[in-house]
């Protein structure tokens, strides 16, 4: 098939790129549209066993005993494991993806030891010759529990007399443990600058509100899976859908107490992650079951209810915001108090939320306090711009209200306070070349912002338009890559970033651009922990930045080598060889990359190169969104009529996939805003653990989403990349809340803004 290349509409700021900015066909595309691509659950191996997990029916309980004898006797069962088979891991913290991980907690989350801390917490696992036998075996395992009272929301958990989840937990107060009192509050942190009292005294208007947001899930369509073979020689191979193969290798090493070198993690194609596929869940269990069943490979995958009950959702939160501004529009003071549910183990993204909440604005007097609090829900894990959406929901609603009180256009008000290059954020760092104002301009100029609102379709329908902005840090991190230059002029390119949304294409484009060759002549492949150098995971909006940087340096290395070859060919000094696109020249002598490749054999033999980088220089992403909603005031239902999102992307390498990231982030943000939430009964059972009742948007719930690409190139990146994936989920909830206000005159302070909560806010029920 000849790939079709569509001309891009994206601006290239006058720079003549050959490949960058084109809408090329992704190299893994044909496999994915024909069903041939191998995802984690598609692994089939000789002698494969099937594993299943027994999960706690209680939200909080002590495990008194587990009797597995009947399960072990069931024909077809090859291994049964419980917490006893898992030696406790060390109590130490390491970075994992965008968040950090404590191995002791991680291990307890993978398989409970003496206590279960949420409905769905794993207590045992079985491997059998069929999935149905494994399931029958689970039913034969007898577990005796002493049921304990659960604590199910952050404010309850912070009370002095709250049931305690983790007896050894002590609050880290601004980094120090100052009390020996058992608690559910894992930490309190603070950012402060200036003088709040002075700032509020100076204000002409002050707005103060409290916001409550519910637990939501990443909602990737592919459930967690893992297949492991613990071989007789002690080597462990794991096939899995992971965002971070190297993170997994390290986690497995710590949990299983096996050296890194004995573990190989092979990242399969992955069906979505959004941050939630960094942590290990099934992989260590599959490995232990493999060992115990006599070194047979064991495959495990979750059912959807298990995904919802037991894999990282993101935090419910309570956020209080107080802001003051002068008549001229200048914000004089801003204060926020954020308490995030960590779930069963410390580690909510409250720190990130603290950074996001006021980030788009230049503030002189500011204080932000954040609390990380454990509750009897699954351990919170990263979800696209972790902690950002709920923080921005609070912050941007108050900003909208200030603008309204001052009688100012919401974009004008934001522009007056907008952060620029050189301004310092509340959490410390100084901004590089951000493009926030450019996104405000883009929305202000956009026809959507000026279009008249559609007529309501019935007397009880109200329509409104809302605006909100968002910030995300963006990450750089470590990347490695290697390449083989082939005699036919192509380059086999091995990179180590799991490809969740077309990054193989973008990375190959940057390598092709660097080499001046055709995109089709780069043959990318995702390697594993044994075949390519270390890579941080695919997350934090880092892949196109960091691994793109590696692609560029890999290209430069290839060029250096190619110059050597040309030098041998022409018997001239390599340093004097000129490279222009794919043409190597010396005086009158010229040879193309392809021609030179054909002469590799005679100029020194085969060629391969590799690079490993610790990249720096990521610059945050900022975005401005505008949305039109229609509110049915009799039913409380909110429909999204039109959505436009402008985002500074630095440089759109592959505009289609940049738009795709914006579309996807906005869609998830709309889901979070309108209907997604965990519904627990009073005993802590998750009642809506299915995709029918955990209501993510369907195709009929969304309009086309217009992505406006703003390019303010990052000077630290050879192609100007900034990172795209996360910020689009940050503004939607706030933008929709502001639109609902403009439609109905009611300020929404809860997420989700589902029909029930909207009816309540409207005073109808």
């Amino acid at each position: 098939m000849t790939p079709v290349i569509k001309k891009t509409e994206a601006k290239t700021n006058g720079k003549p790129f050959k490949v960058i900015g084109q809408r090329v066909i992704r190299p893994d595309g044909v496999d994915k549209v024909t069903g041939r691509a191998q995802y984690g659950a598609d692994v089939i191996l000789p002698g494969l066993l099937y594993g299943k997990v027994l999960r706690s029916p209680h939200a909080h309980a002590r495990i008194l005993s587990i009797d597995t004898s009947a399960a072990e006797k069931l024909p077809g069962v090859k291994a049964v494991i419980t917490g006893k088979d898992l030696k406790p891991a060390e109590d130490k913290v390491a970075k994992s993806g965008e968040s950090s991980v404590n191995y002791s907690y991680l291990s307890q989350n993978v398989l409970a030891q003496d206590k279960v801390l949420y409905h769905g917490h794993p207590v045992a696992a079985v491997a059998a010759t069929s999935i149905h036998i494994a399931e029958e075996a689970l039913a034969l395992i007898k577990v005796e529990y002493e049921v304990l009272p659960p604590v199910l929301n952050v404010l309850d958990a912070m009370k002095d007399d709250a049931p305690i989840l983790l007896p050894n937990l002590r609050t880290k107060e601004l980094g120090e443990v100052v009390s020996d009192k058992p608690t559910n509050i894992a930490s309190h942190e603070q950012h402060a600058r200036g003088d709040l009292a002075v700032g509020f005294a100076e204000a002409d208007v002050i707005v103060e509100r409290e916001f409550h947001t519910n637990t939501v899930h990443q909602g990737y369509i592919e459930p967690q899976n893992g297949t492991a073979l613990w071989n007789a020689d002690g080597q462990i191979t794991v096939w899995t859908s992971t965002q971070g193969a190297w993170d997994q290798r390290r986690d497995l090493s710590e949990i299983l107490h096996v050296p890194l070198s004995q573990i190989r993690v092979i990242p399969m194609e992955i069906g979505g992650g959004f941050g939630g596929k960094f942590p290990v869940y099934l992989e260590p269990l599959a490995a232990l079951l493999s060992l115990k069943s006599g070194h047979r490979p064991v495959k495990m995958w979750m059912q959807r209810d298990e995904v919802l009950k037991a894999t990282g959702p993101t935090s419910a939160s309570v956020i209080r915001v107080k802001m003051g501004a002068r008549k001229d529009g200048k914000i004089t003071a801003a204060q926020a108090w954020l308490a995030y549910e960590a779930g069963a183990f410390p580690g909510s993204p409250v720190g990130a939320g603290m950074g996001v909440i006021f980030a788009p604005y230049k503030l002189d007097n500011v204080q932000i306090d954040g609390y990380d609090v454990v509750v009897n829900k699954p351990a919170a894990k990263a979800y696209r711009a972790p902690g950002g959406t709920n923080a921005a929901f609070a912050g941007e609603t108050v900003i909208d209200e200030l603008a309204e009180k001052l009688g100012m256009d919401p974009i004008t008000f934001r522009r007056i306070n907008a952060a620029k290059e050189g301004d310092r954020r509340a959490d410390g760092p100084i901004y590089g070349r951000i493009g926030f104002i450019e996104t405000l301009d883009a929305i202000e100029k956009h026809p959507h912002y000026h279009a008249p609102l559609p007529e309501p379709r019935a007397p009880y329908m109200k329509v409104g338009r809302g605006v909100a902005c968002g910030f995300w840090y963006n990450w750089d991190g470590k990347s490695s890559a290697s390449a083989v230059v082939n005699p036919d002029g192509t380059v086999s390119y091995l990179e180590g970033s799991t490809d969740i949304g077309g990054t193989r294409a973008s990375l190959a484009m940057m390598l092709a651009e660097t080499l001046g060759i055709h995109y089709e002549d780069v043959k990318p492949m995702v390697g594993d922990t044994q075949t390519v150098g270390y890579n941080d995971g695919t997350g934090g909006s880092r892949t196109t930045y960091g691994s793109g940087m590696a692609a560029y340096h890999l290209g430069k290395e290839i060029i250096r080598e190619m110059k050597q070859r040309a030098a041998v060919l022409w018997e001239v000094p390599a340093d004097d060889i000129n490279v222009e696109g794919d043409v190597y020249s010396y005086g009158e002598k010229r040879i193309t990359f392809k021609e030179l490749c054909a002469k590799l054999d005679e100029t020194g033999g085969p060629m391969s190169v590799s690079v490993s980088l610790d990249t720096k220089g990521a610059i945050p992403a900022l975005a401005t969104h505008v949305v039109d909603v229609e509110v049915d005031t009799e039913t409380g239902k909110v429909n999204i009529l039109r959505y436009t999102a402008a985002q500074d992307v630095g440089r759109a390498i592959h505009p289609s996939y940049v738009e795709g990231q914006i579309h996807g982030g906005v869609a998830q943000g709309i889901g979070w805003a309108l209907n997604e939430e965990y519904y627990y009964d009073k005993d802590g059972h998750l009642m809506n653990a299915s995709l029918l009742d955990y209501r993510m948007p369907t195709a009929l719930d969304l309009p086309m989403i217009e992505a406006v690409i703003v390019e303010v190139p990052n000077p630290n990146h050879p192609f100007g990349v900034k990172g795209v994936g996360e910020v689009p989920i940050v503004p939607p909830a706030a933008a929709i809340a502001n639109a609902i206000y403009r439609a109905t005159g009611v300020r929404m302070t809860v997420l989700p803004m589902n029909p029930k909560n909207v009816l309540q806010a409207l005073g109808k029920i």
Binding site: E135, E136, L674, R695, P697, L700, P755, K756, I765
Partner: protein, 291 residues
């Protein structure tokens, strides 16, 4: 999922024999969109699954102006909403059939299954009640007819005894100057279970100014789908007016006795009983007037 055996029954008596023999350990399989989920989740148990899709009586779909509509219990929804007679004479049923699940669910799901699952939120039920549907039930020896509003005894429970199966649903021919509509409230726009729903059928006089009769049923506001004769009574004999519709909607709201669960709160459902009744009636009237 527990192990079970599978029989694809070819005749009514074959199915009835197995059901009689195995009692409540035999389960009918129609489209399977409920049964397979229930068995997988352990919410139902079965030793034998009897596939009833191959039984001719359960596969009939026929209309006559005198007899009305007969729908075999195992006719999938996509056949129903593509049927010219149903489209012409029972638009309220089209409302319900096109919103159960998504297209792939509608390729399998049946009215028999929807009715026998007996969910208070089952989308076909309120409108079928409004249409005065009769259930034809058979066992090895007996065939009987039961009005649909008498078919349910609790959430997931019907009057069917072990050994009995639902053969067909019979809808009388539409009365002149009548119209019907089904509306449900869901937070999403598709793929959702009714928070509250209303099925309404109205019969107007020749001038289409006055209600000659009306039937209304609500979904998801009681342990079973709820027939609300008070709503019909509030309309019968009244002129078509905002006041009459308001009175019927208030009667429906008063009859609703919902609970709070993951899909909605009791207060919300109580409120929606009123809103959905009003909207369903307006639509039904519009249809009766030829809209």
């Amino acid at each position: 999922m527990q192990a079970f055996s599978y029989v694809s029954a070819r005749t009514l008596s074959e199915a009835a024999d197995i059901l009689a023999r195995e009692g409540d350990q035999a389960k009918c399989l129609s489209g399977g969109t409920d049964l397979i989920v229930f068995l997988r989740e352990g919410r139902r148990s079965a030793k034998v699954v009897v596939d009833v899709k191959g039984i001719p009586e359960l596969n009939q779909l026929g209309y006559s102006p005198k007899e009305g509509l007969t729908i075999g219990a195992a006719v999938p929804l996509h056949r129903i909403y593509n049927d010219a007679h149903v489209i012409e004479h029972y638009p309220g049923l089209i409302d319900a059939a096109t919103l159960i699940g998504g297209i792939a669910i509608q390729g399998r799901a049946t009215l028999g299954g929807n009715v026998c699952t007996a969910s208070p939120a089952g989308d076909s039920i309120p409108i079928l009640i409004a249409y005065e549907t009769t259930c034809i039930v058979a066992s090895r020896n007996v065939t009987k007819a039961i009005p649909l509003e008498k078919f349910f005894v609790g959430p997931g429970r019907t009057v069917l005894q072990p050994g009995e199966l639902l053969v067909a649903l019979k809808l009388p021919p539409p009365k002149p100057n009548s119209g019907a509509a089904y509306l449900r409230f869901i937070p999403r726009n598709e793929m959702d279970i009714a928070v509250t729903s209303a099925g309404a059928m109205v019969v107007l006089d020749e001038d289409k100014r006055r209600f000659v009769g009306a039937r209304l049923a609500l979904g998801a506001v009681a342990p079973t789908p709820l027939f609300v004769p008070e709503a019909g009574a509030a309309l019968t004999g009244q002129p078509v007016s905002d006041e009459a519709i308001e009175a019927a909607a208030r009667a429906a709201q008063a009859a609703a006795r919902p609970i709070t669960d993951m899909r909605g709160s009791a207060e919300q459902r109580k409120h929606l009983s009123y809103v959905m009744t009003k909207r369903a009636l307006l639509r039904a009237i519009e249809r009766a007037r030829g809209g």
